[in-house]
């Protein structure tokens, strides 16, 4: 028996007709494991950097929040690429577009809320003047 004949019974198309040909990923387990190892290494590095930065204060105080947020965004990118396998491939264009829309909504909600709530009394008279007017 040739190699092809040996492999055929385990291929899903023979048993489940709704399973389209090509539905199985061709990548070997090694490909996946390499990707996850890479992701784990980079994510660990960034996590350790975050916690170290928060406790050791290696940069100028006011810059620390910015550094932590940059580290967090970098780590989210690592997770997306190596764990969630968001790629630039043609089968991923829809996922990337949906992600871009999601990021836009998240940015609008978070930044918009902070912006509005911090400027609620922007055009209002300061409280002490208001009290003087009433007197």
């Amino acid at each position: 028996m040739s190699d092809i004949e040996l492999r055929q019974p385990v291929s899903a198309e023979d048993h489940w007709p709704d399973h389209a040909p090509g539905d199985e990923p061709n990548d070997s387990p090694g490909h996946w494991i390499r990707s996850y190892l890479m992701g784990l290494g980079l994510a660990t590095l960034l996590t350790v950097a975050s916690f170290w930065a928060a406790s050791a204060h290696p940069v100028w105080g006011p810059a620390l929040p910015v550094a932590l947020i940059v580290l967090a965004i970098a780590q989210m990118g690592i997770h997306l690429v190596f764990f969630l396998h968001v790629t630039t491939g043609p089968d991923n264009t829809n996922n990337v577009l949906a992600l871009a829309f999601g990021v836009m909504v998240v940015a609008l909600v978070v930044l918009g809320s902070i912006w509005i709530m911090n400027h609620l009394s922007h055009n209002m008279m300061p409280t002490d003047q208001l009290i003087q007017m009433q007197m």
Partner: protein
């Protein structure tokens, strides 16, 4: 594709619906898919990609919901009403353990998926169980934190800040707990049904869910705990 053919009338209906003007094919009687009939060059995407895409849309909507909790937290951070601020309740060593558990579980979840793709039930199950135990450790650590805070009188009712804190961190915790239930059912399904296509699709969705929870946790430990510890 298969031995099973549509009855002639059904086949005719299918062809008329998919290709009303019969521009997609010249000959008659071939049972194959109609290429180039409005599906682009390569034809429709595989079910695997469509399932992943649909679940990805759900996950993004879930992340949008989390962003509302993040926005609430950012707005209410200073509303302590004389109660404790974030600086007083943050416990960094516990957060380090929680983060380590969740990151390791994300990794083992990925390994279980690699084993699923290789059609290896034993390693799929082993890595899924490790993923579940790490997730359980995370949930228990968080529960311990909440109980310890409640014992000090720091409950969600105490201040606007504590409400925002508990709802943001708690919603993520509930997601992880729900993921654990899902993981239990996947263990059973893989054991009983094997790697049928629909089981593989569910495993894909579970993986996406678990990794997305880790992404949300990156936001929580940075925005809530680390930024809280330095203010």
């Amino acid at each position: 594709m298969t031995d099973v053919q549509f009855p002639a009338s059904l086949e005719a209906i299918r062809r008329r619906r998919e290709d009303p003007n019969r521009v997609g094919h010249g000959g008659h009687g071939s049972g194959g898919p109609i290429l180039g009939a409005g599906h682009g060059k390569t034809g429709p995407a595989t079910k695997r990609i469509i399932v992943g895409y649909g679940f990805w849309i759900f996950l993004l909507s879930d992340i949008v919901m989390f962003s509302c909790f993040f926005a609430t937290y950012a707005v209410l951070q200073g509303a302590t009403a004389g109660g404790p601020g974030i600086r007083q309740i943050v416990d960094l060593p516990r957060v380090e353990w929680e983060t380590a558990c969740l990151l390791a579980s994300s990794f083992t979840c990925g390994l279980s998926f690699a084993a699923s793709n290789a059609k290896n039930i034993l390693w799929t199950q082993v890595f899924l169980v490790i993923t579940g135990l790490l997730g359980l450790a995370f949930v228990l650590l968080e529960l311990q934190e909440f109980v310890a805070l409640a014992h000090q009188g720091f409950t969600p009712q105490r201040s606007g800040f504590l409400t925002a804190f508990f709802s943001l961190v708690g919603t993520h915790g509930i997601h992880v707990a729900g993921g654990l239930l899902w993981l239990g059912t996947m263990l059973a399904q893989v054991q009983v049904k094997g790697f049928r296509p629909e089981i593989m699709h569910r495993l894909i969705c579970f993986n996406l869910f678990w990794h997305a929870l880790d992404i949300v946790w990156v936001g929580i430990f940075t925005i809530v705990y680390l930024l809280g510890s330095i203010t």
